[in-house]
């Protein structure tokens, strides 16, 4: 009786400690960073590949920014999802309201571990789950590039989420279940184009975040990689882009590369919806980067 009473007190405490331990943030330390001098010019490629501006550029008249307005990274885009409303924060190099005074290490931990400078977990609405697959050097270059952009004043309101999603610590458990920085698709390691395409799609491009369906907890169903999913921002679907796709599966690699460059489908329809912003970013990459993306998309497992 006495023992069971002790246990009744001790067990919840032990479970709580275990949960606390299991959900703790696991940041990188400065010794994990490679010897690398960040290169802002190289970082611009990652800025477009990563699509930073699509969520973080300040809205213009309530709409996504176009053209040079994409360099004003004051944040504000809202993602209205089944978990609640996520709001993209200010990532301009403003010292107080943006990320101007972040160290390279803090930036790398945000991008690749999903951990804020104050140690809290980020929600995976920020696709660090994909950015974790980037080369650390590329992430360091990206920070150097963002530091060259205009500082924008003003903070964005925090996310509005329902319970239990509002408990940030829970993301630690989520990360243990679903956060995996390994490549998703096996490609021939000697095929440089495929390796580059996989890197751009699975890493900075974070295509899988919208084109792959999720389970009820928001974990990606990698067995249906890029096979299409409900639109996280509202009605309709994000299309299947595997070779089995009804429409896009019939596109040649050249068609895909041209679409990403010009915004025109092989039927000469124009890109629509959320993909407009993505396409306009990818249009800023080199032809060889787009060709690599296209080659990879023709090589991923077809999903019916």
């Amino acid at each position: 009786m006495k023992t069971s009473k002790k246990l009744a007190i001790a067990l919840p405490a032990i479970l709580l400690l275990a949960a606390f331990w299991l959900t703790r943030p696991l940041p990188l330390s400065s010794s994990d960073l490679p010897e690398h001098t960040p290169d802002a010019v190289a970082g611009e490629r990652m800025f477009w590949a990563g699509g930073c501006a699509s969520c973080h550029a300040s809205l213009v008249d309530g709409r996504r920014a176009k053209g040079d307005d994409k360099f004003q990274l004051g944040g504000g885009l809202e993602l209205d999802t089944p978990f609640g409303v996520f709001r993209a924060p200010n990532i301009s190099p403003h010292d107080d309201d943006g990320i101007g005074n972040w160290s390279i290490l803090e930036f790398v931990n945000a991008m690749q571990r999903g951990i804020a400078p104050d140690g809290r977990h980020y929600y995976p609405s920020f696709p660090y789950t994909s950015y974790a697959r980037m080369r650390v050097e590329d992430v360091m270059d990206l920070k150097a590039y963002i530091d060259t952009l205009p500082a924008v004043a003003g903070r964005i309101e925090d996310h509005t989420l329902g319970f239990p999603y509002s408990v940030r610590r829970g993301i630690g458990a989520w990360k243990r279940l679903y956060f995996d920085a390994q490549p998703v698709v096996d490609v021939d390691a000697d095929n440089e184009m495929l390796v580059l395409g996989r890197y751009l799609v699975e890493g900075p491009g974070h295509c899988g975040e919208c084109h792959t369906p999720r389970n009820r907890l928001g974990g990606l169903l990698t067995g249906q990689w890029l096979a299409g999913a409900p639109n996280p921002e509202g009605e309709g679907r994000v299309p299947d882009i595997t070779p089995a796709a009804r429409e896009i599966g019939g596109w040649s690699a050249r068609n895909i590369a041209y679409y990403l460059k010009s915004g025109f489908t092989p039927d000469f329809d124009t890109v629509g919806g959320s993909m407009v912003a993505v396409q306009e970013n990818l249009a800023m990459l080199s032809d060889s980067d787009r060709e690599a993306i296209a080659a990879y998309l023709k090589a991923v497992p077809p999903v019916e």
Partner: protein, 146 residues
């Protein structure tokens, strides 16, 4: 001889289409059909620009004529009360902006016709703005039809 016959046929069909459209009481359907014609005319030009089809200056000029006829007529197919389809509410909320986008489209086509690109190298810069005008207008004034 043969090419000019094709050209006359194309112009005639465009004129005929516009006559039908004026008499139509279903502008939503008419504007959809008109856009499909524009798209069909764009396909060979796009294939040439991608290097999938040999460059044919006459065919490009034919497509530009189809576009020019469509661009003249398109703005008249959005009367009050014809909302719907892939037409965004923004067309009626911001008619001036929509009209400006149509002017941009018409001007880009006219410039391409004036340039009359004879080679593939000339075609890209000459026709590019017209394609860009398609995309710009769609970004604001077209919605996905579910």
């Amino acid at each position: 001889m043969h090419k000019s016959t094709v050209r006359i046929a194309l112009i005639l069909s465009a004129v005929l289409a516009s006559t039908i459209a004026v008499g139509s009481d279903d502008p939503a359907h008419e504007r959809h059909e008109l856009m499909e014609g524009v798209r069909d005319a764009a396909k060979p030009v796009g294939a040439m620009l991608q290097g999938e089809l040999e460059y044919d200056a006459d065919r490009v000029m034919q497509s530009l004529e189809v576009w020019a006829a469509a661009a003249e007529e398109f703005g008249g197919l959005f009367p009050e009360g014809s909302e719907g389809g892939e037409a965004a509410p923004a067309i009626w909320e911001d008619r001036d902006g929509f009209d400006a986008a149509l002017v941009e489209w018409r001007n880009a086509i006219a410039a391409a016709q004036d340039a009359a690109p004879a080679t593939l190298d000339e075609a890209g810069p000459a026709i590019g703005p017209a394609f860009k005008a398609c995309k710009n207008c769609h970004d604001t004034y077209r919605i996905e039809d579910e």
